[in-house]
């Protein structure tokens, strides 16, 4: 088998490509995929890229996509598809198989082939190779760095260590979590050195690490980091941001995040995951084989064709990385890829060692068959998990996390169908309204609509939201000073109730704003706050005056009260002069905001759509447009 090693490796890569490519656009875009896609749009449209230290990881995904799309002659962003974007991560996923060529003498050729097969069919590797997020690129760059480092150790050629340096730079420019990989590499090298001492010098010979080479590799690393984080010298602040980001992620890693999970989060998904109505998912065979290889390497048992030093290093590296991710409270399922890829490489070694360790031809054959069956089971689960539409966006799948449900595609299709019936078509005005911007991935699906606007609350009408207040502190101070009749009224109405304990001085300015919003919305939801004496001397905007003359009720009264307060405190509260009609032809609204909607003006509520489990959107279409749509459909 190993005589045709390149050919077998190519076959494994083809298998990987097949599992990663079929129905690539079948699963709805995840929130994160859509964010990455829309961020890439800026780069594609010439608006450049700026690294954001708060979220969204590094620049390699956007720049790799740019290169890939240019090479494949992509055109208008509106015509981009999910499959086109995801094909980039598919390539990197297949690349993980091909990279095994570089370490075939470290693992042994048979083991490298076994690892190639397991990489190709591992459900988690397949699933996230089909996800337009940073993870597969990240793991590819890690493996490239380790493989190039190994080749340097073998040959002493500077090109390999320069490549390793570049790969480390790319890792850093992909995900902030690269520091964990660096820690794992350092830890594994130290442990390996400790275990190596009594043994004769191995391939990891320190003589090969020439200081000049190391300096050169460091320079390449730095150059890659500087180039990418400064967006090719167009954003010098990006370099500083690449360091500042660790403050944000340090807080997140400690648990300031909705993604805090117990230590068993990853292991349940990898080893035994079952939800009622779903199948049993398990990649335990990989862990068993990896553990066998790791223990054998540390115990200095013979591993056929493999470098004991490399396998031992790999075992320590995987163990340390797995321990770090297990202990960290912040967990997202795609983070397993880093350490699970290490386990897969080890499992390749373990599989070969297992068969070699069996005595007699029949036993070896039986062992081989069992291993092939295990690989087939993984391939089947990979298909179920990533390709089968029944599970690819289903919470019964261990790798589905905060995933958009297929029901959202119905909403996108419905908007397209309604737009077709509108004379405005692509210029159709659409308001997408959801608190906390919880409307993703809709900006991806509505990308062709230049008239789509995105709001946190119902424009032109609705109640206060925390991010709509200009200066909460100044507002509270002004009200407490009671210097004018409106402030006196607000104080009497309980505007500052429960606020003392939540002052920013106590460390949580967000909580103050939240209380303020609650109290403000309570006040404006009551009777009219207008009193001619109270508002004497306050210049009212023309629209406020008009609304006042109408003596409104219901939602319009709330709007009037809000406008009166905005006119009284324009600098502190800001103005709600959103330049849109409150209810355009199409409104997509978070179901949580339904009480804020004026049913007489919003149009026909045509249906509910589930964005993610438990997160619902409502589609409103103005009745004349809905009638036009029904007529258009009837034709």
């Amino acid at each position: 088998m190993t005589k045709g090693f390149p050919l077998w490796l190519l076959l494994a890569a083809l298998l990987a490509l097949g599992l990663r490519s079929v129905q690539l656009g079948g699963r709805p875009m995840h929130n994160d995929e859509a964010v990455n896609a829309i961020k890439f749009r800026d780069l594609w449209d010439g608006a450049g890229y700026r690294y954001d230290p708060d979220e969204y990881h590094g620049p390699t995904l956007a720049y790799s996509t740019l290169v890939w799309e240019k090479l494949t002659f992509a055109r208008d962003f509106a015509r981009f598809t999910e499959a086109r974007l995801r094909s980039l991560t598919v390539l990197f996923g297949v690349g993980l198989v091909l990279l095994l060529f570089l370490v075939s003498d470290a693992l042994g050729r048979k083991a490298a082939l076994a690892a190639a097969l397991l990489t190709a069919v591992s459900p988690v590797m397949v699933y996230y190779s089909r996800d337009y997020i940073h993870e597969t690129l990240f793991v590819f760059f890690i493996f490239l760095a380790l493989a190039a480092g190994w080749r340097y150790c073998q040959t002493g050629k500077i090109a390999w260590i320069l490549l390793a340096g570049a790969a480390f730079g790319l890792m850093q420019a992909t995900k902030e979590t690269f520091v964990f990989n660096i820690a794992a590499v350092m830890g594994a090298l130290l442990l390996n050195e400790y275990f190596r001492r009594p043994a004769p010098a191995s391939a990891l010979d320190e003589r090969l690490f020439r200081p000049a080479h190391l300096v050169a590799a460091g320079a390449v690393w730095l150059a890659v980091v500087v180039l990418l984080f400064t967006s090719f010298f167009t954003n010098p602040a990006g370099l500083l941001d690449s360091a500042r980001t660790y403050l944000v992620w340090f807080q997140r890693a400690q648990g300031a995040s909705p993604h805090v999970h117990g230590w068993g989060f990853y292991w349940e998904r990898l080893l035994f995951f079952h939800r009622p109505g779903g199948p049993i998912w398990s990649e335990a065979i990989i862990l068993l084989l990896a553990a066998g290889a790791g223990v054998s390497a540390v115990a200095r048992r013979e591993l056929p064709g493999a470098s004991p030093a490399f396998v031992r290093f790999l075992a320590f590296y995987t163990l340390i990385l797995a321990a770090i991710y297990t202990v960290l409270p912040y967990k997202t399922p795609w983070s397993v890829l880093g350490f699970w890829h290490g386990a897969i490489l080890l499992a390749g070694v373990g599989a070969v060692a297992l068969v070699a360790g069996l005595r007699g031809r029949r036993l070896k054959m039986a062992g081989g068959i069992i291993l092939w069956m295990g690989a087939a089971q993984l391939a089947f689960l990979a298909w179920q998990s990533a390709v089968n539409v029944k599970y690819s966006a289903n919470p019964r799948n261990p790798w589905v996390y905060a995933q958009t449900l297929p029901n959202l595609l119905e909403l996108a299709d419905k908007v397209d169908a309604v737009a077709e019936a509108s004379p405005d078509d692509g210029a159709l005005r659409i308001n997408v309204i959801a608190p906390d911007s919880d409307y993703w991935p809709l900006p991806w699906y509505l990308r062709r609509y230049g008239g789509a606007g995105y709001f946190e609350n119902v424009p032109g009408f609705s109640k206060f939201a925390a991010d709509g207040i200009q200066d909460a502190d100044a507002f509270v101070r002004k009200v407490r000073a009671k210097a004018d009749p409106v402030s006196a009224f607000l104080l009497d109405a309980g505007l500052t109730n429960n606020m003392d304990a939540a002052h920013p001085a106590n460390g949580d300015p967000g909580h103050l704003e939240s209380l303020l919003v609650t109290n403000l919305n309570r006040i404006i939801s009551g009777p009219s706050i207008y009193d001619s004496n109270r508002f004497q001397g306050i210049p009212l905007r023309r629209e406020t005056g008009e609304l006042l003359r109408q003596n409104p009720h219901g939602p319009d009264l709330i709007r009037l009260n809000r406008r009166l307060l905005e006119d009284a405190y324009p600098a502190e509260l800001g103005t709600n002069n959103l330049p849109v009609e409150p209810y355009p032809p199409v409104t997509i609204l978070s179901a949580r905001l339904e009480p804020d909607v004026d049913p007489d003006k919003a149009g026909k509520m045509t249906g509910f759509y589930e964005l993610r489990p438990g997160v619902w959107l409502e589609l409103y279409v103005q009745t004349n447009l809905w009638s036009a749509y029904l007529q258009h459909r009837a034709k």
Binding site: N31, D32, V35, I38, K39, D52, E55, Y56, P258, H259, T332, Y401, A402, L405, N407, E410, V432, D436, S437, D438, Y439, W440, L442, P443, G451, A452, G453, Y454, F455, E456, L578, P579, V580, A591, R592, E594, K604, M605, T606, G607, F608, Y609, E610, R612, P613, G614, V615, W616, W626, L630, R633
Partner: protein, 232 residues
């Protein structure tokens, strides 16, 4: 000449301003210039990190508390163990009987799944009844919304125009079932079921349509109850 220059200096600026204003006024009132929409930019989408994996909407509660529905004393579920038929050919009479067996637990055993598309189930009450309320439970094992829900009653089994068909509820906004454009809102499936007020209308047959749900394209029915009494 000096006087003219002096006057020009004295009156030049106001004159220019007046002429300028006259020109502006003339141009704005001339009607020759076409009007174009202001190039107002709408707020773009705000980027958002990975959302929480589990964020149930607090507004949607499976344990809502419906106010008691008032009906004349003596009114009972007259659909219990009555014959059920359906437009869907994938289920037999034994399965359909579960729809009126009194079991409302949305388990696999109790729930009847009709094929995809707009499908109906129909209950023959055996004789004309005064109907006060119809309650339908589709499948509330998870929060979902059923599409194209229509409640109808009629005097005959074919629901043809000559059989006094009355539509009590219809949220089929696109008229996919062909019985008219629905004006009612969609609703979340809860363990209370969907109650429709029939206001004592007289009929023998009850028909309920649905057209898949937000969870699947199939149609599920756990139970249908018809509260009424034999017509006098």
């Amino acid at each position: 000449m000096n006087a003219i220059l002096l006057n020009h200096r004295r009156f030049g600026l106001p004159l220019c301003l007046m002429l300028g204003l006259a020109w502006l006024g003339g141009s704005s009132c001339s009607g020759a210039e076409s009007l174009v929409p202001l190039p107002i930019t709408l707020p773009p989408a705000t980027f958002r990190g990975t959302p929480p994996n589990d964020t149930p909407d607090p507004r949607i509660d499976n344990n809502t508390n419906r106010q008691p529905f008032l009906a004349p004393a003596g009114v009972t579920n007259v659909a219990l163990h009555k014959k059920v038929t359906s437009s869907a050919g994938n289920v037999g009479p034994e399965d359909l009987a579960k729809i009126t067996d009194g079991e409302k637990e949305p388990s696999e055993e109790n729930t009847v799944t009709l094929k995809r598309g707009s499908q109906w189930v129909q209950i023959d009450l055996g004789s004309p009844h005064e109907i006060f309320a119809i309650v339908v439970w589709h499948n509330n094992s998870s929060v979902r919304v059923y599409r194209g829900v229509i409640f109808q009653i009629a005097d005959g089994p074919d629901f043809t125009p000559d059989q006094n068909v009355r539509t009590l509820f219809n949220n089929d906004a696109e008229n996919k079932s062909g019985v008219g454009i629905g004006k009612d809102r969609e609703y979340f499936e809860t363990d209370e079921g969907k109650l429709v007020d029939a206001q004592g209308a007289k009929a023998r047959y009850v028909r309920v349509y649905s057209n898949g749900s937000t969870a699947a394209s199939f149609n599920d029915y756990t139970e249908v109850e018809v509260y009424g009494r034999p017509a006098k």
